[in-house]
């Protein structure tokens, strides 16, 4: 467990992937463009000495992932956010079934999310039901810009999407993570327009809508929606690494997000393997407002606020009892493997 100035910080990494972008798995040029684009984001924000080579990046595998998250990365639990892209990748890029390989090995450490695509119709509904049956998922990650045949995307406020959201509500799948973020080649930028979240969030007040990447490059549209809807949250993946190479821009962004979205509605995510939590978490935890920033935004980036963002908010959404988890992690398989048991002892706070 991470400690910051002697205080424990229970970290739930809200956005992790286990992907396969090996050449053998790519069946469309979009697949190659997609991973190359991811790699640009990786190198763009990763300290030089921490950057991976392309081969590692294409397929890092389960063993490395477990080490990067838990042994080296200060993470206590991680939430898998799948990205199917089955038109680009033979077996899919990062599917729930692929993620399950690891999640089922360490069920106490991972939350496994599913996905749906309303264009799949009845078959899609069956897929969602199957994921609920197999893995008891509590959330889905949605990719509104995913290509499917001639279609280049879909909207969360369409009748077809509403049918799936109704199904989610019925099955108790409460957390709807929508990728609304920077354009990713070759996907169409407008398919990530954040405004369709508004109608969906109003129509399904019992579901939580987590806008991943806080809607970049439309953070303002996202903030307007999140201010009005209490069930709209922001995922910090993409914004978080500003803390590493542009700390004042990070502070400015956090000032806005805390003002408009609020400290109870923001979730940390490393976006692993795009970025690694071992350097990202300290960068975020060390971030502070200057006197001027505090006065300008009228909000705090206090240790309490950061603890909420780092884990407590996600714990609330996913019914995770942090104290019970700490007790469990004193001697679970991961703690035994990496000698982490001591960090979960009561006394470790001092």
């Amino acid at each position: 467990m991470y400690t910051h100035n002697g205080e424990d910080v229970f970290v739930i990494d809200g956005h992790i992937h286990l992907w396969d972008a090996t050449k053998e798995n790519i069946i469309h040029e979009g697949g190659e463009q997609f991973i190359q684009c991811f790699y640009d984001y990786h190198t763009g924000f990763t300290p030089e000495e921490e950057q991976w080579d392309m081969d590692t990046y294409r397929h890092y595998g389960t063993e490395r992932m477990v080490q990067d998250l838990f042994r080296d990365g200060h993470v206590d639990m991680g939430i898998f956010q799948p990205t199917y892209l089955t038109d680009f990748y033979d077996e899919g890029f990062n599917t729930t079934d692929q993620n399950a390989e690891l999640a089922e090995q360490y069920p106490e450490r991972f939350v496994l999310n599913g996905s749906f695509d309303p264009r799949d119709g009845d078959e899609g509904i069956e897929h969602l039901e199957r994921l609920k049956d197999d893995y008891d998922i509590q959330g889905v990650k949605l990719y509104t810009a995913e290509w499917r045949g001639d279609s280049k995307g879909w909207r969360l406020d369409s009748d077809e999407a509403f049918r799936f959201l109704e199904k989610c509500a019925e099955l108790g799948i409460e957390n709807i993570h929508a990728h609304k973020g920077p354009t990713i080649r070759p996907l169409n930028r407008d398919a990530f327009d954040v405004r369709d979240v508004d109608d969906a969030a109003t129509s399904f007040p019992d579901l939580n809508f987590i806008v991943e990447h806080v809607g970049f490059p439309r953070v303002d549209d996202f903030c307007h929606i999140a201010t009005q809807e209490t069930n709209v949250y922001g995922g910090l993946a993409v914004a978080a690494p500003f803390a590493q190479n542009r700390p004042r821009k990070f502070a400015e962004m956090m000032g806005e997000l805390l003002f408009w979205v609020g400290e109870d509605n923001l979730l940390f995510g490393s976006d692993y393997g795009i970025w690694e939590p071992d350097w990202l978490i300290p960068a975020v935890m060390d971030a502070e407002f200057t006197q001027e920033e505090r006065a300008e935004y009228g909000v705090e980036l206090s240790p309490e606020v950061k603890r909420k963002i780092m884990g407590e908010n996600a714990a609330r959404l996913y019914d995770i009892d942090i104290e019970a988890k700490k007790e469990q992690f004193r001697d679970d398989a991961i703690s035994q493997e990496f000698g982490l048991g001591d960090t979960y002892e009561e006394a470790s706070a001092d």
């Binding site: 463009q33 953070v219 500003f242 542009r246 821009k249 962004m253």
Partner: protein, 276 residues
């Protein structure tokens, strides 16, 4: 030849540090490199609302007699084709205004639609004919971004007036006629309360803002109000409503600057910076 509408160019060269003024390409060419750069500085990345010179998108400027070739590269290969198109046409049109230039060729490198954009812009085609499946026309996209940029720039302009002691009642009804941008090179004068009071403030935030307000058609006449909310409606001087619009403008600016942070990071890692 030098006598046509080039006061801006002359101004630009004058204000340049002497050290840079001598860095022209081929000495026998009538085209001055600094003049080309000064024109390029007027071309903006429409999403980031900053000059492509400042953003270091220009890779090379080749001057051969009266022919100029400009190559540029963007932070990502998947930068919106519409944005890339606006920059490419901006380069072509700005450099073409130089009287000594007879033809301009623009090349967009390392972009997923680099060839289409390069060919289309150099042949004078329309965006809509090159990208037939684009959802919005180029002018609609430009307007949307310009309105956002106008609103974002308003934050700094109003902040400047607030710091000079003006209150919402005085700021909200201000018209173009009440602002004198030529008061001094670095100071603007603002008349409030029907001319009963004049305050001087830093010129730049107001001048920057007014340039965009004019471009978007918000402030074209002397009697037009300077400021408007996100939708273009006049500002409400009631303190709470006024503050809320100001915060919204700050958010618009933070969004643009946040996106600029992403683009800068990608640009650094993909293209390096400081290339000549």
């Amino acid at each position: 030849m030098e006598t046509t509408d080039s006061p801006d160019v002359a101004d630009g060269s004058k204000s340049r540090p002497p050290g840079e003024a001598s860095s022209s390409g081929k000495t026998e060419s009538p085209v001055n490199l600094d003049a080309v750069r000064e024109r390029l500085d007027r071309v903006h990345d429409p999403e980031l609302d900053r000059s492509i010179i400042e953003l270091q998108y220009i890779k090379t400027i080749d001057i051969d007699g009266s022919t100029v070739t400009v190559t540029f590269v963007l932070p990502t290969a998947w930068c919106s084709p519409a944005f890339a198109w606006m920059m490419a046409t901006g380069i072509r049109d700005e450099v073409s205004t130089l009287p000594a230039v007879s033809s301009v060729t623009v090349r967009l490198l390392d972009h997923m639609h680099g060839d289409e954009i390069t060919t289309g812009v150099n042949q004078g085609l329309s965006f809509e004919s090159v990208f037939e499946d684009a959802e919005d026309g180029i002018e609609a996209v430009r307007r949307k971004l310009d309105h956002k940029a106008r609103f974002a720039r308003q934050h700094a302009a109003i902040k400047t007036l607030r710091q000079a002691g003006l209150d919402p009642d005085q700021i909200a009804p201000l018209t173009r006629a009440e602002v004198d941008l030529e008061h001094r090179s670095d100071l603007a004068a603002v008349r409030v309360q029907d001319g009963a009071l004049t305050v001087t403030v830093a010129r730049e935030p107001l001048a920057d803002y007014l340039a965009k307000a004019r471009e978007t058609g918000l402030v074209t006449d002397e009697t037009d109000r300077l400021f408007a909310d996100r939708e273009g409606d006049p500002l409400d001087p009631e303190p709470e409503a006024f503050e809320s619009t100001l915060r919204d403008a700050r958010l618009a600016r933070a969004n643009i600057e946040g996106q600029a942070t992403i683009c800068e990071s990608l640009h650094e890692s993909r293209n390096g910076v400081g290339f000549d």
